[in-house]
Structures are given as C-alpha cells and as structure tokens.
Symmetry: C3
Subunit: 268 residues, 3 copies
C-alpha cells in the first residue's frame, strides 16, 4: 500500500519546544471587526516589545459588547492553542470606566484583558488558575483604548518570557465567578450561519435531546447525516454543541442568533 501512504522523513511531533527560541504565540480575540485600524494598532503596540512575535487573530467577531457570551468561546477555543500561548482578549464595553485589567494563567496559557468575565470560564474549566490585577499603565495611556495602551504591552512581555510579580488575586473574586459552567444559549454565529452554544457536548448525558426556537434538531456527526435543508446538532470541532442546517443557514432558517436560549433534556 505504499501508493496510498504519505510518509515523512521525521517524527510526527510538533517541533516547537525543540527548535523555537523566539517569543510565544500571541492570539487576539476581539469584537473589533475585520476592518479598521484598532487590531493592527494593538498588534503594533505588542510588537514594540517583541518584534518577532508570532500573532494570530482568532476572533475579530467575538460577540460584540458581550463578554459573557464571549467567555464560553474563549474557553473552548483557547483549549487547542499551544501551551505558553498568550491570549489577548478585548471585548470591553466598560473601557474608560473603573473596571480593572487582569492577567490570568490557566491550562498553561496566559490571558490578558479586562476583568469583566471574559476569562472566567477559561480559568474555571482549565483548573488551577492564577490571576493578577494589572496596576501598570502607560504614562500616556488613552481613556478609550486600553487594548493598545495597556493590554498589548503586558501580553507581549508575557510572550517574551517575563512573568508577573506580586501576589496573585483569588480567581473566585473575579467578575464571572458566579456564571454557569455551561451556557445554554447561542454564543456565536459563524460565517455559514452555524450557531454555537456555550454548552460543552461532553457534559451531556447519552441520548440528550436539543430544542431551540420550536425545533428539535436530530444529532448528527457531519452535515450529510441529515437531508439538505434539515437542521441538526453535533459536537463541533472544539467540543461545543452546535446547531446547523445541511446546505443552509441555521441562523436565518431557524430564526436564531446570539442569545437565543437552547433547551437540553435527557431522554425520558
């Protein structure tokens, strides 16, 4: 069967820890949209501290002004980033108010951003989290753009290996500590109209049924498990319960969007 084999001459293992001596990966999660200057300004501020910083923009369309919904995305999508990655999260309707900035360390990754719950679930689901309040501020920080002026420099310095000093905060005192472990609502609609919930599929009992907006989609493994135009739910590639329509858009077909409640029931 050598005809069908794509072999490689070296090990399958990712090479990060063996050959890479530069800064860790910076990953942005924002509601800034895919256009306009803000994301690049934030990245330029980070690169001033770490010029060879690898940067990925994971979400530019996190739920706008909605750190609670975004928190469930952050937890699910940080989980497949490499250890050491620094997540710079800015969904920050309270910028300019008195909300604090924080650093969280959880699951081997760093999180930097506002203390508004955005990292609450990532900290809880990973276990063993530590947190610090950011007291540092740039001498000329603006009132409205802490992502650029405060969070990006802190994130870059973590990425290049510096570590926070001082006594950690108790994560139980952070905003979001009282939010549920899973959120039975739509938290994100992707470009295809597929609707993610804040529910981790591996928390459901076998045979669990999903209901949303009067529909009871069947469970599938891939879209083609149901006829075209039919809704289904499945475990998405990051472990969340997701609702879609085969060859269609679930958001418009079912009339659902961020905030729509989902009902999950065990089989009777």
């Amino acid at each position: 069967m050598s005809r069908d084999f794509l072999g490689f001459s070296r090990s399958d293992a990712p090479c990060r820890h063996h050959t890479h001596t530069g800064p860790a990966m910076l990953v942005t999660i924002t509601d800034f949209g895919s256009q306009g200057p803000y994301l690049a300004q934030m990245k330029a501020a980070a690169m001033a501290h770490a010029p060879d910083l690898p940067i990925l923009d994971l979400f530019t369309d996190a739920p706008a002004f909605n750190p609670r919904a975004a928190a469930y995305l952050v937890s699910a999508y940080a989980a497949d980033l490499p250890e050491g990655a620094v997540i710079l999260g800015v969904v920050d309707p309270g910028v300019g108010s008195e909300r604090a900035g924080i650093v969280v360390h959880a699951g081997g990754r760093w999180f930097v951003g506002p203390d508004n719950g955005l990292f609450a679930l990532a900290a809880r689901h990973a276990g063993g989290a530590a947190a610090w309040r950011i007291a540092w501020t740039a001498p000329d920080a603006s009132a409205t753009f802490h992502g650029r002026d405060i969070f990006a420099p802190v994130a870059a310095r973590l990425a290049r290996g510096e570590r926070p000093l001082g006594m950690p905060l108790d994560p139980a005192t952070l905003v979001g500590a009282d939010w549920p472990d899973d959120l039975a609502e739509i938290v994100y609609v992707d470009a295809y109209g597929n609707c993610m919930t804040g529910v981790r599929a591996n928390t459901l009992p076998p045979g669990a049924r999903v209901r949303i907006a009067g529909h009871a989609p069947a469970r599938g493994r891939t879209f083609s498990d149901v006829p075209e135009g039919t809704p289904l739910w499945y475990t998405n590639a990051n472990g969340l319960v997701e609702i879609a329509v085969n060859a269609g858009r679930a958001d418009t077909a079912l009339g659902i969007g961020v905030g729509t409640p989902v009902e999950i029931a065990s089989t009777p």
Copy 2:
C-alpha cells in the same frame, strides 16, 4: 536625470535564496470568510509544526463550496508566488465524506488539500506535476475540520523542508482531470465588483471578442480606456480575462456573478 531616479545600493534580485533559512511561505486559499476562528485555528495548527512559518491569506473568499471555479483561481494566483511556497487550499464541501486528501507538487510549489479538483488546473497548467494521497491522520482528528487537523500539519511539514515518501499518484486520476483548460465563466467577483473569468487571456486569438449577459464590452488596458459607466474587458494582473465597469461595479451593472457564462469569439 538623477533627480528622478530612485536607485538602491544593492542588487534588484529578491534575496530569498541568499539570506533566508527559515521555512517556506505558507499561503492559504479558503472560503472561510474574513471573520471567525477557522482560519486562525488552521494557522495555529501549522505553526505548532513550524513556529516561524511566514503565512499569507491569499483568498478567504474563494468561491464558496465551489472547488471547480476555485481551481481556475488557484492556478492563476499560485503562479506569482515564490518557488517553494506551500498552498493550503480548503474549499471543501465534501469534508466528512470519503473524499481523499492530497499533496500536489507543480511548478516548484506545493499544494495541500482535498482531492476535489481544487488543484487540478494548477497541476495541469504548470506541467510535470506529481501527486500523493494523504493517508496520515491525526489521532484525534475531527470529522468536520480536516483543514486544521490534517492539511495544516502536512503543509507545515512541507514548508519546513520535509518531503513526502512513497509512490506518487498519477495526476490524471485526480478529480478534475477532465475539466477544461480554461473555464468560460465568471469564477470570482472582487471587492470592487470586477468579475474574473477562468480564461487565460494569452490563449485568445488576436482580436477576440467577449460577450456576457447580452453585453459586448470593448477591450481595454486600464479602466480609463473607456468612459465612466462603460463596461470593458482586459487582461488582469494575473493573466485572466476580467470584466469591469469604469467607475462602477460590473457585477450589479451587468447582472453577472460567479457561474455566469462568458462567450468568446474570434473576429469574423
């Protein structure tokens, strides 16, 4: 005329082969859209194997679910990428079905993605192509996201210099081997409403005429060769026949879009 001269102190030649020892460039071509997590997740999976991998996103808006139209774009737009570049192409409506994953080497560049025709024209137009089937799969690969779980790691390993082992496939057995050399349809509409065809302009006889949707646009070299509001066709910057309207949008003005047939005739 030294006043008008912008000279440089060194050679005009690109410096790649002399000074760069890192991995080759990874170039993504997808229909994922410019928002949402999927593109960054795929890139993170590649960077786990090649942390300093230079990555460019060439298309995030390739014709959605349409590998046939996309194949003509891939061929035209891969041609000006540097030799050694690895094109990671994911326009993959069949993910989760039995379609295979392949690696193609053509024109000095690598192509990684589904065997659904996406690379068929790049292989044919470059000549001398070789192909391999990807039998490797990640132990925990998802059912719905082969771009992240299979294609990205393979692409990254090619970019860092590993080479496929085993016997190549015959490219004539790949999906798309029976597609035409040029596709007389609109295959892409850009942000300005300009409409690209799948026809290489250098295959046309001198004096060829173009007709589309009842219009017979004149040939121009640049937009300003026709009055404002008037359609024209020209050889675009990647060699394809493209239809536009000076100071307007061809897609809405002419009522055309991906899939609209184009008629090309020699002068009578």
Copy 3:
C-alpha cells in the same frame, strides 16, 4: 499594595533597538477591503525581498478612491508606529495613468505609494520630510497593480535597510502640498459607526464647539460621559476629533459619513 501590582522583572522599555536585527515593520494602508487576493499578493511581493518581514495591515478600508481624506488618517495613524516603520499606502484611483510613485521620509518613518497626496499631511505634520520619485519599475510590471509590482518591492527594500540614492524631490512640489493642515470633514467611519474628522484636537482653542449635520454634540472624554443614545465628540486615541453616539452608531443616527462637513467654532 503588592496584591494589586503587576510588576515585571525587566525594564519597561520596548526592546526593539536592543534585540531585533531583522527588517523593520511594514505597515499597509489600502482601500482593498478585507477579502480578495490583492493585499496578500502585495505582501508576497514584499516578502520576496524580505522573507522575515513583519507586516501589519493598518487599514484595509481607507476611504475608497479618496486619497485626500485618507491623507489625514495616514498622518494621524502613522504617528504611533515605531520609528523605522515603512508605510505602504495604496489608495490609488489613478493607477495606470501618469501619476508618479514616490518615497517619503518623515518623522523617522518611510512612506511608499502614489504621488496623489496620500502622504502629504504625514510629511507636513512630521516636519523635515524628504521625498524621492520612484523611477524604477519591474520589467514585467502590470498596468493596473503597481502596489504589487512597484511599491511593495521598494517598501521591502527600505524595510531591510536599503536607502534611496539620488537627489530628493522638494516635498512642496508633491500633490497635496496645497491641502489644509486639518480637514473639517468626516474622513473615516469605523466598524462601530464612530466618525473621525481630519481635525487634530490639539489645534482647537479651549472651549471649541463642534457642529455637524444640525447637531451640536457635547464634548466628552469617554462615551459614558453622555446618556445612551446621545451624540458626543472627543479626542480619539490618535488625537483626531471624533463624533460618536453612546451605545449607538453616529453614522446612521446623525446621517453622516465620509465627506460630511464639520463646523468648529470658538466659544463666543
């Protein structure tokens, strides 16, 4: 107060000049939109000359076909880029005509693009600018894509440390030399509907009042300084007078957009 302190083990200073020996940062400002191949093609052309070039896309939605409005953005947003950065600006409705290409050096940064005024304000506001005309052209340059074929290679070579030879142009002879120091119009609408003017706030007298489209927004420091649904103006994070509506969109609420005139008056 060690509990609230996020200290670091090293200096606060950005590390660029001490540890980074690669090329300077390339920053793109275009009206190409966030999708489609053109931006990546331009970056690939730059990377052919500087494979490890760090690149940021500052604006992909600069005012389309409007180098005059864009010029005020370029000046305000280049100012917080690191010294040595190379700004590759392509808002170029005249491509294919006889307009020249230029290099400008101002405020320690480089600007590369068309001589259509795009860099006129950056040159003037920074002071001490020098400029060169680009006479070089690629042997196979296209008629319609100078960003890829001419400007990107020039920008990359500046980023890797090459310097223009020959006699500088007099910046007073460039297009835009007669434009006002500040433009009392909306020059950009961001993703949230906030509307930037081309007026630097620090040029206004104390107590200045702003009027636009029949509205007289109060001055604020942050959005929450006015009730929800109420317009305000403030100095944005890059020093421009910006008009917004707390918890709303100024563009639709006030019926304003790029080109809407702004009236600024001293207190009577």
